[in-house]
Amino acid sequence: MKKYVWPSVKLTVVFIIICSVLYPLLIAGVAKLAPGGGKGETVTVDGKIVGYANIGQKFTEDKYFWGRPSAVDYNAAGSAGSNKGATNPDYLKQVQERIDSFLMHNPSVKKAEIPAELVTASGSGLDPDLSPYGAKIQVKRIAAARKLDEAKLISLVDQQTNKPLLGLFGPAKVNVLKLNIELNKLK
């Protein structure tokens, strides 16, 4: 047995140095060249940081595009999904409440037009995106709140839409934070 113990101890020390010290330091060093310098990419308005590009934020006011419901209220220090099963009656009640609330704030939208993403919680609780449709369905409400032209808002969503990767892979999406920042700039 002894002939296995010492090599084990020494090999462990060697690989702690390689995998837990040198490797992360190398990646941290290289990442300094990446957008955000490896600290996470931030978004600034007038020189002030208003958020992280990839982290969704809570928007509740009528004048903003809302993101998806979040099980943790967009707490970026404690991500979580709802983990509710599809047939859970309490969960379905909660979805119903979200539908009612959405209809109240968006009286011109018919129930059958609401996309599932706006009444279901995201996996991370921090989903930064919406589908283009999920943004456009909110345009009437925002146009009324801001007294802006609807067509202008529709074209803003189009302009902010990220196409699928290389136009071929995955869904199209709109980053809600960036969309709202551009929205604030509209006159």
Binding site: V30, V50, R68, G85, K173
Partner: protein, 570 residues
């Protein structure tokens, strides 16, 4: 074609395209042939010298397993004490606390055995020190342990009669220096440039556009996210794993992480073919595994894209599929695909919450783990499949009335007993554990634990049963994903799943290597016209049928009580 589907198809094809040459390379590395990474030679010799390792001598199966178990025991002790004291150790910018003894026990085992079940949330449950010195470290070495054990099997199959399964230390070291580390560096840099944090800065506080104060967790995550996939570990830096927008920022990283987790398990199959010079055998196994995977993936993607009929009943549009627990940037197709890949491969990382999948998709995820050999984990996937092969050889032999032979060696009672025990062990751990949990839930609901049994379940009825069944399935399969609604950070779950994980890891490694070692020592019998041809389609189909029968016989009742009953009630 829908861009969500093209994304999935291309991801899978790219994986095969990369796995084939990588398999060739792996075979060369372990056969000691010339490769492009030979510049590592002096570095490896340096590691052997300072560690006092003699690599010139091979090991028989008992020596090989002793070396493997010795170093693994050491890692367990090391990890346990670091987790237990992390709160008072350095590199803790967020001021997170130490783990309780039962959680340290569970977490140390979980990462030691490549399972990565997490009964804590990364943002608050670990410090940067333990993320790197325990989690990342164990993610490398547990994957290398799995690869080394698979190579021992290869060595047993390669020679007609041999005692020598290779030198554990040398194979282990090379698995990291030639395979895991170089590929991880590439993946980690790609992740960092796509937005995964890599610096040592702690939590940031910002004011959002609407004026709320928000804390944002960060940390040196990119390197860990790379090895967690490449090594089929799966434990997330953040609580929600690769659903987190910093852990998996866009569709490209989604594809990258999906490819990374299948890469080595698939490459090991091709490596087997090159290494023992029986390419047809490798292609047959690859074909069977791929068919098995498609049986699970295709329906899951369809169900997730069709959306939830319960929410449709509320009158809501299901054009974008079932979105509860999913992220817009991946969509239901890539989420469904990931949920099966991560369960057949034993990664257990998630990009959507499995607890919120459609009931039958949840069953497919469970089946992936119950079978645990469609590609399977880093190295261990092949070992699991080898057990199925031994049982198929035995049954095939019975059917034609000959003493079963496998690659020129007689398979006798001792080998078949070991194979049967390994198979039955899973059924015992999973169903016994679930039964025990259900017993406490029903009869001792107010037991004074950190989470009372009555409050374990986040969902009622059959889905609640599924949460418990999934937890033991995942522990035994060393998968690590969960129906995360389960309130699992208490002494019951920490201890029981801890034992399920450690038994579910080491016995299915010890079993196949012992069988391989015993078979390799036997006299070689040349093939005759009456020999069962193990690389034939017939034998492939026989193995597939054996897998289906064993799984169905063992697990049909709990699957009926959980996902199937839930589906029928919809």
């Amino acid at each position: 074609m829908n861009t969500e589907l093209t994304g999935v198809v291309v991801t899978f094809l790219l994986t095969i395209l990369l796995a084939y040459p990588l398999g060739k390379y792996i075979a060369k590395v372990f056969a000691g042939e010339k490769t492009i990474t030979d510049f590592m030679n002096p570095f490896e010799r340096f590691i052997y010298r300072i560690s006092g390792i003699n690599t010139s001598r091979g090991m028989n199966w008992k020596e090989f397993l002793t070396a493997m178990l010795a170093i693994n025991s050491l890692w367990f002790i090391y990890a346990f004490f670091l987790l237990l004291t992390q709160g008072s150790l350095p590199l803790n910018p967020d001021g997170n606390t130490s783990m309780t003894p039962d959680l340290s026990f569970n977490t140390a085992i979980s990462f030691l055995v490549n399972c990565n079940l997490q009964h804590y949330s990364g943002e608050s449950g670990l410090t940067y020190l333990t993320q790197l010195f325990v989690i990342t470290f164990l993610q490398f070495v547990s994957a290398a342990t799995g690869i080394a054990c698979a190579v021992a099997l290869f060595n047993g199959l390669k020679h007609k009669t041999t005692d020598d399964l290779g030198n554990f230390w040398a194979i282990f070291v090379k698995s990291i220096t030639r395979l895991l580390l170089p590929i991880c560096i590439v993946i980690a840099i790609l992740l960092a440039f796509n937005g995964s944090p890599a610096s040592f800065d702690g939590k940031d506080t910002i004011t959002s556009l609407q004026g709320d104060t928000v804390n944002v967790s960060r940390g040196p995550s990119a390197g860990m996210i790379a090895i967690k996939h490449l090594g089929t570990n799966g434990g997330g830096w953040f609580g929600v794993n690769s659903a987190h927008p910093l852990e998996n920022p866009n569709y490209l990283t989604g594809m990258l992480e999906l490819i990374a987790q299948v890469l080595i398990p698939m490459a090991m199959l091709f490596a087997l073919g090159f290494y023992i010079k029986r390419k047809k055998l490798a292609y047959t196994i690859f074909g069977i595994m791929t068919v098995g995977m498609l049986f699970l993936v295709v329906p899951t993607i369809i169900w997730e894209m069709n959306g939830s009929s319960e929410i449709a009943k509320l009158g809501i549009l299901q054009a974008t599929g079932a979105m509860e627990g999913k992220e817009v940037r991946f969509g239901p197709a890539a989420s469904g695909y990931w949920s099966i890949i991560t369960t057949i491969i034993s990664t257990g990382s998630v990009n959507s919450m499995h607890d919120s999948s459609m009931p039958l998709s949840g069953m497919m995820q469970m089946l992936g783990m119950l079978i645990n050999a469609f590609y399977g984990g880093c190295g261990v996937g092949i070992l699991n499949y080898y057990i199925y092969i031994i049982i198929a050889v035995f049954i095939g032999g019975l059917m034609v009335g000959r003493t079963p032979e496998f690659m020129g060696h007689k398979v006798e009672a001792r080998e078949v007993k070991i194979a049967a025990m390994v198979t039955l062990l899973s059924a015992f751990l999973i169903k016994g554990g679930t039964a025990l949990a259900a017993y406490y839930f029903v009869n001792h609901g107010d037991a004074d634990w950190a989470v009372k049994p009555a409050a374990w379940l986040n969902n009622p009825a059959n889905h609640g049963f599924s949460e418990m069944f999934y937890e033991f399935t995942s522990s035994n399969a060393n998968n690590g994903s969960g129906f995360e609604g389960l309130g699992d950070n208490n002494i019951f779950w920490n201890v029981t799943t801890g034992f399920a994980m450690i038994l579910g890891r080491f016995l299915p490694i010890i079993g196949p290597i012992a069988i391989a070692g015993m078979l390799a020592k036997k006299k070689y019998i040349p093939e005759t016209a009456g020999t069962l041809k193990i690389d034939s389609l017939t034998f492939g189909i026989l193995t597939f049928a054996i897998i289906i029968i064993i799984t169905a016989l063992s697990y049909f009742p709990p699957l009926v009580l959980g996902p199937i009953a839930e589906y029928l009630g919809m």
